[in-house]
Subunit: 352 residues, 2 copies
Amino acid sequence: MITRRENETTLKDVAERAGVHAATVSRALDPARQHLVNAKTREKVRVVAEELGYRVNTVAQSLRKGLTGLVGVLVADVANPFVAPLLRGIEQEFRTHGAMLIIAETHDDSQTLATALDNFAKRRVDAVILTAALQGDEPQVRDAAGGMPVVLAVRTLPSGDWPSVTHDDVLGGRLAAQHLVDLGHRRLAQLKGSSRNSSFLGRSTGYESVMATTTARDVTGDVIASAPTVEEGFRLTTMLLERDEKNVPTAIFAHNDQLAVGAIAAIKERGLRCPDDLSVVGYNDSPLAGHLDPPLTTVRLPTWELGRQAAHVVIEILGGAESVEPTPPLPPELIVRGSTAPAAVDAELASS
Amino acid sequence: MITRRENETTLKDVAERAGVHAATVSRALDPARQHLVNAKTREKVRVVAEELGYRVNTVAQSLRKGLTGLVGVLVADVANPFVAPLLRGIEQEFRTHGAMLIIAETHDDSQTLATALDNFAKRRVDAVILTAALQGDEPQVRDAAGGMPVVLAVRTLPSGDWPSVTHDDVLGGRLAAQHLVDLGHRRLAQLKGSSRNSSFLGRSTGYESVMATTTARDVTGDVIASAPTVEEGFRLTTMLLERDEKNVPTAIFAHNDQLAVGAIAAIKERGLRCPDDLSVVGYNDSPLAGHLDPPLTTVRLPTWELGRQAAHVVIEILGGAESVEPTPPLPPELIVRGSTAPAAVDAELASS
DNA sequence: TTGAAAGCGCTACCAC
DNA sequence: GTGGTAGCGCTTTCAA
């Protein structure tokens, strides 16, 4: 049996002790309405409230106002390194508005996503920031969201039904591919994440757009990581390295740092060296990326800023904005470190 | 102006359409009370509720029941690598109870901690899991917590006023120190975090208990990291290496992986090698620790399990348990990798 | 400037 | 097995 909290000081208690009506206390304590109250009364109320250790009951307030000051944030995986800065950005932006964040994870499962959204809806969160949308989730989001405002962050959805704030993953993919091509690599491959995830899809698109305009070959084939993990990076790279020589890449663009780390491990395992034999580019600039062996060349994202912008869009919507201006995708930055190097003299090239 | 949500389907709407009383709908829809309702009525209500897309209003429910199903989790820093598994453990344990987590950060600032607790209290969370307590925060916690149950996790407080679930940091410190001593190191040093943080304090205690029983020397001195970051690890280690030769350690126990990474960077910067010249042990087994250069020897914590246990204690308290049995500290595990090696033949030793 | 009354949506209790 | 009533703690009219 769960026991309910007892003996809480209520508005009425304060009112009685201060010798005024509850409504007056309510007004006196609300910064937005204190001016309606006589300065003396206001002070009296403040003092009594203090004495009694009064604390508003946000639950009652929410019921009455129809607003909870709660924003639901849905992430695929709290352990993902970009989640922390994202949450910080969101929190920062909401801090002045007194909103708090309620967080749930989807683990990239549509059913879990639907359930989480439903829970948010029952709790009457004022809005949802959804960072875990996968292509195909539209019906779940539409149904479960009901009347709640939803803002897509990090990952977007093709339908365009919801405002979204994203990184420019196409640019990130281009930056990575161009860097490798510029280093003289002639056979490149991607370690791709699921294309239902718009971030990964964008990275592929960017990479491919570069490959389309060079004479370097894309030897990726149709490999896709079943999950963007170190283990998958290792497995897929091992497969790439086992191909006949003409189809082994000399440079790999991994869709995130974990895949990249797995790739490097596979390269070493095979007795090859990174970057001497193969170059590897990661994505996300995870916390210790610069201290890996070798230090990882990767793409850095302004995720904190993205969080702020997503929160800002929410604030606009809640403020009654008819339509929010589309936010341009935030540009990433290539961080060149030790895992990429000029291509070794290449048989294919030499024979031409 | 913030607009309030309109046109929500309420219990009453469902009741009218189903031709029954609201109270009946309430009973029919609550798994715990459906048995009080005639099967036919129950089904009828279910169907109508479905049709109308009815969703309980948890806010009203909470007000009435005096229970929100919300648990506040206070962390020092969401980016800390152990936060993710901790949250998962907590969430996992609460999932069946339908509770959700509301999260706030303290950045190790007492004022921020007090404010966050106050916000939790206003929102009438059912309990707080506090992972960010620092020695000296007792008054803030006592005041701000008011009537809320508080469970200390990860970090504990000397006063013993609150139940707490922790890792066995003393053991962790001993494991690290013993490992280095066993490798033959004769001059060891710690990279210590603030002793107001019980985790760091425990690690020191463990380390010192080992040092007290060997002939190896502790050359730590009174250096303490102002923050447990890579930069501080670098700065402090540089200082250690600049000392006269007899006081330069050949092995370093860093209170977390970031400090360890900074230490390794400083060692390299000075033209020395890890582990050939100096061994380094970290703490936490951060995600990419095994892929650093060199792979980091570190202490792994069962943080997921800790989260589960903390949540479990909360559930017991909410269940009305008079007193909860103290939870024994969870044992960590030493993960030996490449950053530690036998001590080089030592001048001090050779001359003896 | 303050008070009184109503009601947000729900559930506990008591009648029937 | 079901209905009625009251009330959780607050804010918002409206009236004085």
